[in-house]
């Protein structure tokens, strides 16, 4: 649900990073925060446990510049990936404009990836959205680790609707901005259609 403010000439859109626990969602946001100039971003808020697991959400507001005289602002959120935080995940998806799924490329996390995409589909539906039509991108993260699955193998299992797909190493930033841009673009194109 984009928020279009004609008075202050701003468009605000909400992007949610989804995926299994420890997949690298928070790391994506941290990289974006560190690589963006202070004028273009606000404070990053992390509601986390003492062991740095996301407890409720991370939040990062980001200005991308102006389009047709409107300041284009994206609010980035991550969900807590741990299975038992499902009630919180549902809440974060409220009013979402686009979703980035951060998959963990390690072989032993494939079950968790699959489970999490199913969970995303359900929770979107409960919020009145459809994964089939919402702006969406898929990131295969942790490509630097030794025990990762082949990309085409992952694609075969995790691809949902031929969404744009990116290889990522969130700790060093590989693929992080490409993934973000892809969904941001899809959202703006949606906005044009309305």
């Amino acid at each position: 649900m984009a928020f279009i403010n004609y008075a202050s000439k701003e468009i605000n859109c909400k992007i949610v990073y989804y995926g299994p626990g420890l997949g690298g969602k928070t790391t994506n946001l941290q990289f974006i925060y560190n690589k963006t100039s202070p004028e273009a971003r606000g404070k990053m808020i992390s509601l986390a446990t003492e062991t740095d697991r996301t407890l409720f959400f991370d939040f990062l507001p980001l200005d991308l510049g102006t389009i047709r005289g409107f300041t284009t602002r994206f609010h980035l959120y991550t969900v807590p990936g741990q299975v038992f935080y499902d009630a919180s995940r549902k809440l974060i998806l409220k009013g979402v404009d686009g979703v980035i799924f951060v998959a963990d490329s390690q072989e032993e996390r494939m079950e968790a990836n699959i489970e999490s995409i199913r969970n995303l589909e359900d929770n979107l539906e409960e919020n009145g959205f459809d994964l089939k039509s919402i702006p969406y991108a898929l990131q295969f993260n942790k490509r630097d680790l030794p025990n990762v699955l082949q990309v085409d193998e992952m694609y075969r299992v995790l691809n949902f609707k031929r969404e744009p797909t990116f290889e990522g190493i969130a700790t060093s930033g590989k693929g992080v901005f490409d993934t973000l841009k892809s969904v941001a673009k899809q959202i703006l194109i949606e906005l044009r259609k309305r």
Binding site: Y6, S8, I45, F56, I67
Partner: protein, 164 residues
């Protein structure tokens, strides 16, 4: 424009701001904010500069969302008011017109009782403003379906955003 987008026009904003300014004075509050349930700031009045408004909006919405979740768990529709008491500053949070969150920050120059009373009065005004805004938006979309400035966004416009 799809109906689930939240569209705010200048004249709607001015009326909301006016109502917030009045509430701020009547309640003797430090600052008053109106936030969308999804965490976007709509309007504000008072000593706004001393707060990080964007963070405040997002955390308030998270707070309300979590509390709504709790309410449903115990079979309540919602908790209509939240109050957080600090040493000096206090936050009063309430829902207006179902979709907006009214946040009042006050200190000992005011009181919970006064704030409650004034919030109740202001809520009615704000609701009316939201209603007329919704009507306006409806008429706007019926009269002129391609009034959105975004219908003319080009691929170049979008690419330009990402070139750095």
């Amino acid at each position: 424009m799809r109906s689930h987008d939240f569209v705010l026009y200048e004249d709607g904003l001015y009326r909301l701001e006016e109502a917030l300014r009045r509430l701020r004075l009547d309640a003797n509050a430090k600052a008053v904010f109106l936030v969308d349930k999804n965490g976007q700031q709509i309007a504000a009045a008072g000593e706004v500069e001393q707060f990080d408004v964007t963070s405040l909006a997002s955390l308030t919405a998270g707070n309300v969302a979590a509390t709504d979740g709790l309410a449903k768990l115990i079979g309540e529709r919602e908790f209509s008011v939240l109050f957080h008491e600090g040493k000096q500053d206090h936050i009063h949070i309430s829902i207006v017109a179902k979709r907006a969150i009214l946040v009042v920050i006050f200190d000992d120059r005011s009181s919970l009782g006064l704030t409650r009373l004034r919030v109740r009065q202001a809520s009615g005004d704000l609701e009316k403003i939201f209603e007329s805004m919704a009507k306006q938006a409806e008429q706007g979309t019926m009269a002129n379906t391609d009034s959105s400035p975004f219908s003319e966004i080009t691929d170049e416009d979008i690419d330009a955003l990402f070139s750095e």
